[in-house]
Amino acid sequence: MKRSFFSVGIIILLLLSSFNLVLAEEKVQSLKVGISKDENGLNPYTYVTGYPGLDLVNLLYDTLFNLDENNKPEPWLVKDFKVSKDGLTYELTLHDNVKWHDGKPLTADDVKFTMEYFIKYPKSRFTNTLKTIKSIEVSGETGITLNLSQADPNFMIQPLADLPILPQHIWSEVSTPDDETNALGSGPYILEEHKSGQYYKMKSNEDYFKGAPPINELIFPIIEDTTAMYNALQAGELDVISSSISPELVEQFSSNPALKVVRGPGYSTSLFQINAEKYPMTETAFRQAIDFAIDKENLVKTVLLGYAEVGSPGFIHPSSSYFNSELKPVFDKEKAKQILEEAGFIDKDGDGFREDQEGKKIDLTTLVYSGNPIRIRTAELISEALNEVGIKNAVKAMDSTTVDSLMWPDFDVSKGRDYDLGVWSWSNTMQLFPDRMNDLFHSDPAIGSVNIGGYKNPEFDQLGEKLKQTYDENERLSLIKEIQAFVAEDAPIIPLYYQEIVGAFNPEKYDQYVFQVGKGIINKLSFVSTEKSDLPDNEKASSDTPVSTDSKTANMSTDNDGNNTSLIVFGLILLVAVIGFILLRRKKKNKGNDDFDF
């Protein structure tokens, strides 16, 4: 019996090693980019996620402007542009050598068509910001003038640097854009194949107006399990991945000589959401006490191992030019207790938890997504901290759709909410321009469309209204700083941290990636040949803060040893098991044959 086990083992080993030989072949001009989700059809109507979905769309389509690595709009399809002093007129001139993938020229008519098409068939991300356009005039093949009904300080970012231009000759016949699978654009790559749930394949557009792109073939395998994705990158099956490396693995990846790791600020904002409509969270003092009770730095240190920026109490990311640097995160348990005492939240019955101002017991629930261990841990730590200052609360983890349905029913803040507290996170678009503060905190649901805490404060509304009518850059800057200070003081939400983005890639295959602040290395700039000569070096390209961590060579040798030790340990365990098994059998044999020996 034993012998046959061994021979089976040897056969398996032989089979495996022969497979190993077959594995060793790779195309030089092809790059495999791991993505975590199927993005459906890659056109502006059907893609799924903002990142990396829209970034893949942008490899196939072009926008008038494009955000550079610091999220400043730079001309893309546009060669020249002029903005009138009052901010109401945009005169754009397109490049004249832009062609669709089928060879037809891209003209100003396509641009006008696209803008009108999106108004006719709404797709909120693009449509909403187009609504300020009053009229569009086309002059010749390349000239276009946009007249706005009111000045919009972010018009260049959205829609101009966001709206993919559609080919009129194709989309003019499309009346159900949500079901459209066509993805013919003018971008640097051409979609060749999409196998649902498996991969996308793109080939380079040799006639691209900014020059042929540097990669012949881009393949995007879809791997939903992050562990499998990391494994595949380490095993060399992928050359780069769209997901950020989780904090606990950064060291491991950095020590891998075949990989290069770049890190930089991320704009996704994690926060402690408060239902400001529900007593006692309606009390400013109560919210302030929560703010003082939470040690944000400890969260960053413990849960994110330092790979995050501590949340600014004014919401806006410190690397934004609108950041109010006078605001500092607070943490002071005694202060929290003091605020609560002064406001009348006192533990009268001596059970260790405070009662509300009328002496009723407080028992709150913190909601969190059950699929996200980092957020769960965050929630746990916060819950502990709140209990310590006497605010009784417990964490409840539920699947994301369920949590959404409680905190943001039907994704419509006017429909109310049914929760106390929650660990929440907004994607990077919330940090893209500071006007989003209005969306976040304005009490009118039509303006404060993501005010999921139901926060109401006329003072804030006033500031917000003022911001909407201010176009002068300096005035805007000081107003936005004032708003941040106001939010920090009134604590409608508690910003916790901005998780850093850590990208990893195989530099032998391709290393011309550009780290776009707040987003990462999977973006259009990474996959086109740009005229800019100072881009290539990653550490520089990834702007001010990103630091290349692959210089941490100290750990390298030990970690390599570690890999061997792990195998040895596993071997040892097997050995012990086998020996134990044999011994067990022996012993039983010696015991003699009683009736029920097996």
């Binding site: 059809g41 909403n128 349905s405 039907d410």
Partner: protein
């Protein structure tokens, strides 16, 4: 016999009807709605009218009864509808996933049955010896391991550490392999998930075979044959094994019904594009039509397999027919 079959048919019809209704209700009873998956992530910036238009388009503003009517109608016309999340016809999605699922779970079922039967027979035949005890211990050990744990450890060793086998997926589809190369590629991707599946599922066949073989070996006619001095091999293969296979065959039929459902956990570990994974995702994203379609397929195949097993079993073993009837 005829009455038996119609009776059974009626019962199964009722079971199917209840399952259909359950399929319809369960996803709708779950909290949350699929809006975010229908509308994309900008759902927060949409006006109520826009959201309503989307819900209208997918018939989600209809009353529950209307939706139920449409659902039943669509089942009978074989129209599974569109997936909310993937925005593609569901029949197309299923057609992509089913072959992989059948390859993995089908092959897994066949192999684990063969292995289980083989060792189960050996074990029973050698009852009371060390071989029996060893086999029993090993097989019980196998079934005691959590499947995802086995899978992940196999991945850690053979893919991540040794780099012998691919980490994810069913094939390197983008490589455009053809013929033999593709076959080998698929094979390499299949080894680990298949091995995991066999490791954790082989024990049930083994136990059933061993149990049933022991029963058969205790039957009078085997005793008689032994007493008459019939050769051991003849007893073993001709009489004992053939008869002992009956319960195994039934269980095989029943498990066949479940193969279409895939193996969610293993498919998740190996990122294998099977139906189980599809179903899991559809539940998480409240993709009603997709949940219904995957459940429907599983229900139907399980019920049909049950029915066939019911039909076949009395044919194979007259004793059972009389016992049930």
């Amino acid at each position: 016999m005829g009455k038996f079959i119609t009776g059974k048919l009626l019962q199964y019809f009722i079971v199917i009807f209840l399952m259909l209704t359950l399929n319809f209700l369960l996803p709708r009873l779950m909290p949350g709605n699929p809006l975010v998956f229908l509308a994309g992530e900008d759902v927060g910036f949409m006006s109520s009218a826009e959201k309503d238009a989307i819900l209208d388009k997918y018939g989600l503003n209809d009353s529950i009864l209307e939706q139920y009517g449409t659902y039943i109608k669509n089942i009978f016309t074989g129209d599974f509808g569109y997936s909310y999340q993937q925005k593609r016809p569901i029949s197309e999605l299923l057609m992509e996933r089913l072959p992989w699922t059948m390859l993995l779970t089908g092959l897994g079922l066949v192999l684990s049955t063969v292995i289980g039967v083989m060792f189960g027979a050996i074990s029973a035949w050698r009852r009371g010896t060390n071989t029996d005890a060893n086999l029993l211990t090993v097989f019980m050990f196998l079934s005691a391991m959590p499947s995802f744990w086995v899978g992940m450890i196999l991945v850690s060793i053979f893919s991540a550490q040794l780099g012998w086998l691919p980490v994810f997926g069913a094939e390197s589809a983008w490589s455009n392999y053809t013929g033999m190369d593709r076959f080998i590629d698929i094979g390499k991707h299949l080894i680990l998930p298949l091995a995991t599946l066999i490791l954790i599922s082989v024990t049930s066949t083994f136990m059933i075979m061993r149990y049933s073989m022991l029963n058969v070996l205790g039957e009078d006619y085997i005793m008689m044959a032994k007493a008459k001095g019939v050769k051991e091999k003849v007893i073993k293969y001709k009489h004992a094994m053939r008869n002992a296979l009956l319960p195994v065959a039934t269980v095989f039929m029943l498990s066949l019904g479940f193969t279409l459902g895939g193996a969610t956990v293993i498919e998740t570990v190996f990122a294998y594009p099977g139906v189980g994974r599809l179903m899991f995702e559809s539940v998480l994203s409240r993709d009603y039509p997709l949940i219904q379609a995957t459940f429907l397929i599983i229900t139907f195949s399980v019920v049909i397999a049950n029915f066939l097993a019911d039909l076949i079993y009395p044919l194979l073993d007259p004793k059972v027919g009389s016992r049930n009837g």
